[in-house]
Amino acid sequence: MEKANARAENWSGENLDSGSLTPISLNLLKPGEKGRIARISLGENTKGKLQDMGFMQGSLVECAYRSPFGDPTAYFVKGVLIAIRSEEAGKIYIEKEQEMERRQWA
C-alpha cells in the first residue's frame, strides 16, 4: 500500500528534473542496485540527521542487504553502511542508476 502511494506521489510529482528517469522511492531498490538521491521528503529533523550521515541530494546510494525479517535495509552511502526502516526509505526519492557497473565502496 505504501509503495503504491509512493508511486502515485511520483507521478504527480512537481519539478522532477531529468526527463528520462522518474524518481522512485528508495525502498524499491533491490540489494545490489544503486541510485542517486533526488529528494528527501521527511521532517526537518529526520532529514537533517540523514543528511549528516551522507544522504545528500546527488549522493550515490547502494542497497546492500535487508535484515532477516525484511524490514530495515542497509544502504551504502559514502563508504558507510546505514540501516533505514522502510517508512523512512519510502520517503527518500532516488533516480536509479541504469548501468550496474560496480562502483567502489569501502
Binding site: 529533523n45 537533517g48 540527521k49 543528511q51 549528516d52 550521515m53 551522507g54 546492500a64 542487504y65 535487508r66 535484515s67 532477516p68 525479517f69 525484511g70 524490514d71 530495515p72 542497509a74 552511502v77 559514502k78 563508504g79 558507510v80 553502511l81 540501516a83 526502516r85 560496480r102 567502489q104 565502496w105 569501502a106
Partner: protein, 413 residues
C-alpha cells in the same frame, strides 16, 4: 562512559562542563568528531584514563575531561560526544555544538575515520567555520591499511591548510605528532588559510566531496568483499537469526554454567577461612556475640556476594566487550529491529538490553543512543526487566553455590 556523577547526575547534559586547568600554560584540546571514530580511544591513550569505548555510535554521551603531560607541556583533553554536524539533532549533538561554539578551548582536534573520510569532512569543514585552531586527526589508519585504503595526508593538509595527522590510537601510532601539532596550533594567533584555488575557502562552500577528491585511494576491492560476505553471514535471511541465537545462547551458557565452578571454589575457600578467623578472634579474647556478628554476619555475607557475583561478571564482561568491539551488536540491532518495531520500540534497544545483562544502570544510560523520545522511554522502562548479573536465575534447582544473589537469602546458615 563511566557511571560517574558528572556523566549521569542531575544536570549532566545541560551544564556543558567547566574546564579545569592544572597550570596556567596548559593547553585545552577538545576532541570532536563523528560517532564511532575512536575519540574515546585517543582520549584514553593520551590521558591514561579508562573511558568506556565500544564499536558503536553514541558510546560517549557527556563531556569528559582528562589531563595529559607530554614533553614538558600539560594538556587538558575534553572528550566530546560524537556528532555528525554542528546543526544539532539530538541532546548529545547539542552538547558538542555548544562546547565548540562557546570556544573554551585552545585547539579543537577533529577526529576523522580513515575508512569514511568524506562523511567526516562535513563536520571538519563546519568546525573550521567556527575556529581556525583546528588539528585534523585521521584515526584508524591501521584499519584503513588493512582494508587497502590509502589516504594522501599531505595533500589533504595542503588543501585544508591545517595540520593533518594520521593516527592509529589503538596501538599509539602518531600520538607524538598529534601532541606536537596541538602545541603548534595553540600558539598560532591567526592562521593563513590557502586562498581560493589553492584549498579550502574559509567560510566558503567547499563540499566534503570536493575536499576529498583524489585523496582517498581504494586498493583491492577484495577486502571490502570479504567484509560484505561477513555481513551477509551475520545478517543473512537464513543464517542471521540462528547464528545470533546460538552465539547469545553460548555466551549465557558460558556465563551461567561456567561461573558455577569458580563460584564453588571461591565459596569453599571463604568457608574454610571462617573457622580460622573465628579462632583468631577467640585468641584475641573477643566475646562470643562480637565474633558471631563479625564472622557470621559481615564476613559470610561479603564472601557470599563475592563468590556469587564475581565469577559471572568476570566471564560476561570480557565476552560482551568482544561482541562490542567486533561490531556484532549493531548487527543484532539490525536483525531484530522489525520485532522491536512491532512492540513500538527501536532495534537499538537490543544493544541497551544486552548492556542491561551486565548492569541495568549502564543499560539505562546507554538508552540515549535511541533517537525517538518515545522509543527511548520504552527502552528505559523495560530495561529493568533484564536480569543483570546479580539477578541471573540459578541454573540447577536446589544446587548450592549457584550464581544467583537472590537465592542467597534462602540458604541455611
Amino acid at each position: 562512559m563511566g557511571l560517574s556523577k558528572s556523566s549521569v547526575g542531575m544536570g549532566a547534559l545541560d551544564g556543558g562542563l567547566a574546564v579545569h586547568k592544572k597550570r596556567k600554560d596548559d593547553i585545552v584540546a577538545a576532541l570532536a568528531g563523528n560517532p564511532n571514530v575512536g575519540k574515546s580511544t585517543i582520549f584514553n591513550r593520551m590521558t591514561g584514563l579508562r573511558q568506556h569505548t565500544g564499536n558503536w555510535a553514541g558510546k560517549t554521551v557527556a563531556n569528559a575531561q582528562g589531563y595529559a603531560f607530554y614533553e614538558g607541556q600539560g594538556y587538558v583533553l575534553v572528550d566530546i560526544p560524537g556528532c555528525y554536524s554542528l546543526d544539532a539533532h539530538s541532546a548529545e549533538e547539542e552538547v558538542a555544538r555548544d562546547f565548540i561554539r562557546a570556544g573554551e578551548y585552545d585547539v579543537v582536534v577533529a577526529v576523522c575515520d580513515a575508512l569514511c573520510l568524506e562523511r567526516n569532512m562535513r563536520l571538519v569543514l563546519q568546525i573550521m567555520q567556527q575556529t581556525e585552531k583546528i588539528v585534523v586527526c585521521v584515526n584508524l589508519m591501521d584499519e584503513a591499511k588493512r582494508k587497502h585504503i590509502s589516504i594522501d595526508l599531505k595533500k589533504l593538509e595542503k588543501r585544508l591548510g591545517v595540520p593533518v595527522i594520521g593516527t592509529a590510537a589503538r596501538d599509539g601510532t602518531g600520538m607524538g605528532e598529534l601532541y606536537l601539532a596541538i602545541k603548534e596550533t595553540a600558539k598560532i594567533k591567526k592562521r593563513q588559510l590557502p586562498e581560493h584555488g589553492g584549498g579550502y575557502r574559509h567560510g566558503g562552500e567547499w563540499t566534503p566531496e570536493e575536499v576529498c577528491r583524489g585523496i582517498v585511494e581504494h586498493g583491492d576491492k577484495e577486502y571490502a568483499e570479504a567484509d560484505r560476505r561477513k555481513d551477509k553471514f551475520f545478517t543473512g535471511k537464513i543464517t542471521g537469526i540462528p547464528v545470533m541465537i546460538l552465539l547469545l545462547f553460548f555466551i549465557f551458557w558460558l556465563t551461567i554454567v561456567g561461573a558455577n565452578y569458580p563460584s564453588g571454589l571461591l565459596h569453599k575457600f571463604f568457608l574454610s577461612l571462617e573457622g580460622k578467623i573465628m579462632y583468631g578472634l577467640y585468641c584475641l579474647g573477643m566475646p562470643g556475640w562480637v565474633r558471631e556478628m563479625l564472622v557470621y554476619g559481615m564476613f559470610r555475607v561479603a564472601a557470599w556476594v563475592i563468590s556469587v557475583m564475581l565469577p559471572p561478571m568476570a566471564i560476561f564482561f570480557p565476552l560482551f566487550t568482544v561482541m562490542e568491539d567486533s561490531g556484532y551488536l549493531p548487527r543484532v540491532a539490525f536483525n531484530l529491529d522489525k520485532c522491536f518495531k512491532k512492540c513500538r520500540a527501536c532495534g537499538k534497544q537490543a544493544l541497551t538490553m544486552a548492556m542491561g545483562f551486565g548492569c541495568n544502570a549502564a543499560g539505562v544510560v546507554g538508552c540515549r543512543i535511541i533517537d525517538s523520545p518515545r522509543e527511548r522511554l520504552i527502552a528505559i522502562i523495560t530495561n529493568s526487566f533484564v536480569p543483570c548479573n546479580g539477578r541471573f536465575p540459578p541454573p540447577y534447582k536446589g544446587k548450592q553455590n549457584c550464581s544467583s544473589a537472590l537465592t542467597m537469602k534462602k540458604q541455611p546458615n
